[in-house]
Symmetry: C2
DNA sequence: CCCGATGCCTTGTCTCACAAGGCATCAAGC
DNA sequence: GCTTGATGCCTTGTGAGACAAGGCATCGGG
């Protein structure tokens, strides 16, 4: 793990970090993104099954890197989702010497994802209500 | 506090709660909304100063109730924002026998709000990237 | 006086994110 | 063979914030 290469976020993000102080901005972003991990993971899994490490990389590189999830978060989350019946896990080698643990959505998981998605949309709409009020005053 | 009247959320929300099981849906919504409290509070304060209890009521009634914040959360948050210099607090009676503690945004708080707002917008855009991928497959 | 509404505060508990430590396998280089 | 780095999964202790609930106070009405 410690040998994990440090990857720079995509271009624009670096500039913003420099302007505000990376540690504070990092913390701010992380706090804002709290609560989105489950939706992010489930939505990525909805297109096809993936193994844990693949999910880590994908989430770090997609969506401007703002939906990044760390392994200390991901694996416990995957286990919770598995316990809840939203996903299933299976070890598969796939013509490789070394197996990976693949995760895939269950039908129940697809239902849950649809629900989560609806709630996210509602939340975003609700927040827009507040922010648009601000716009009205300006 | 225990005498606080129980208010039903707006119409549609009740029906959804009945379909899924209110405790589970409540938990889901709360987890999804984690991280939004600060943005919500600051944006409400941006239009004009308000006292704590007023904020509680406003956030419960606005945005479909999805941005509700409880007092155990609000007051510590207000104190944190005050410590950070984003808001100021002042006790005012305003022709009433009983004073209230009003909170208002500082110029620094306005800057912070603008930053938070930008980050929220980016987060929503990032999530849309994932969810649109899902749409593409469907 | 009692009760409910209004208003602010705090504490203990819960939940989840994160850093970091740990283990394992594989492949390349010395 | 040994070492190192990449790949892959897991877990634990810590930190931070949300929440329930308890507490205090004032005011007004019965």
């Amino acid at each position: 793990m410690r040998s994990m290469p440090n990857r720079s976020p995509s271009g624009g993000v670096d500039e913003r970090a420099a302007a505000t102080g990376a540690p504070a901005l990092d913390r701010l972003r992380r706090e804002l993104a709290r609560g989105t991990a489950e939706l992010a993971v489930l939505s990525v899994l909805s297109t096809r099954r993936r193994y844990g490490y693949e999910l880590l990389k994908l989430l770090r590189e997609t969506g401007g890197g703002l939906l990044e999830v760390k392994e200390g978060t991901l694996y416990p989350l995957l286990h919770r989702l598995e316990d809840a019946g939203h996903i299933t896990a299976s070890w598969e080698a796939e013509g490789r010497a070394r197996p990976r643990k693949y995760y895939s959505l269950t039908p129940d998981g697809r239902t849950h994802l649809a629900l989560l998605r609806g709630e996210w949309t509602a939340l975003v709409a609700g927040m827009r209500t507040l922010l648009d009020t601000l716009d009205g005053v300006d």
